[in-house]
Amino acid sequence: MTFVRNQWYVAAYSADVGRELLGRTICGEPIVLYRTRSGEVTALADRCVHRRFPLSESSLVDDAIVCGYHGFTYAPDGRCVAVPGQQRIPRTARVPAYPVTERDSFVWVWIGDQERADHSAIPRAPWLADPRYATVCGMEPLAARYGLLVDNLLDLSHETYLHGGYIGTPEVAETPIRTEVDDDRNVIYVSRHMADAACPPFYAQSTGLTGRIVRWQDIEYHPPCLYLLHSRVAPAGAVPEPDGSDPHGFHVEVVYAITPSTETATYDFWAVARDFALGDDHVSDFLAENNRTVVLQDVAALNTLERVIAAEAAGAQELSINIDTGGLAARRMLARLMAAGAAAPAPGRPQPAAAS
């Protein structure tokens, strides 16, 4: 198992969870999501206790799921409240309910020991639900292990080669990066500040900037799930004022939620929030289409990479260079979190007896 447990993961956009049953597999765990009549999001294990039929392919009646196979009926807390043909409901007839929180337009689900779920530990992406920003978003399924997407996003030099004509220009790959790793707060920062760069179509057409630009990329990765790219573009020479204001800058907050589904499948949630052209639908449509194209370029490349890796013998060599400094740090932190998540016993939970 290569998942980081005892962590929060994005399961869906809030807007995608309603009165239809939604099935998602997160870290190998099948989950069904829906919204009760009072508006609360519920996340239950997506298997009927009777014969394992997926509850996501069943029916929602009022606030209860009625299994589509034999009618076992589950309340939002996972308790079975009715079984067919008999009065007695077996004591063990219950499906696990997952801790869940809606935040910043995402539905976050806790994967791990329920007693350890700390809702205050969910990393934030406040721009997505801030009226001072206009946001476009989507989700693309990836047929590749989530670590490949982490590698991809921590090293943006690939923009020059994989996303040329969209967000890539030569300066991205040419510009040195600064990497910071905060082992106390579990955050990785990778910054690339381009003082004099070509303006790629993604920004030229959305901002109206022509000519050379200042382009800053400041990554903040909160492993395992949330990735933030604070992107600033401005006319060449324009930097923020001493008081912190930035009248010449255009700011785009690019947010990814990297949610492992299975060992070789990942949900690639992406969102682009901007602080300019707020009411301009043409800009929104352009950024949505353009960014989705960029994401699909990544998806195609990483799906190919997954097939290559899966076909190779274990231990095949790879080579890291300076551009990989942040990605290597992310791998290390993920490994540390994975060990901590696997080793951490839930408070008060009895430990399995040692084999004798």
């Binding site: 910071e180 905060d182 106390d184 400094t325």
Partner: protein, 53 residues
């Protein structure tokens, strides 16, 4: 950056292939390979010994 935090920083020195790592203890290590750089940086508190690899 919080001076008290357990933070490691790696700067890619402009115009070179050199990486310079700064440990939270203030130690500075350099390498031209990120794998080696992280190895030296994370050797805290034994930076000196590891730097000689």
């Amino acid at each position: 950056m919080n001076a008290d935090a357990n933070v490691y920083r790696v700067d890619w020195l402009p115009g070179t292939d050199q990486l310079r790592g700064t440990c939270h203890c203030g130690a500075v290590v350099e390498a031209r390979d990120p794998v080696l750089l992280w190895e030296r940086l994370l050797a805290h508190p034994s930076h000196e010994r590891r730097a000689g690899i």
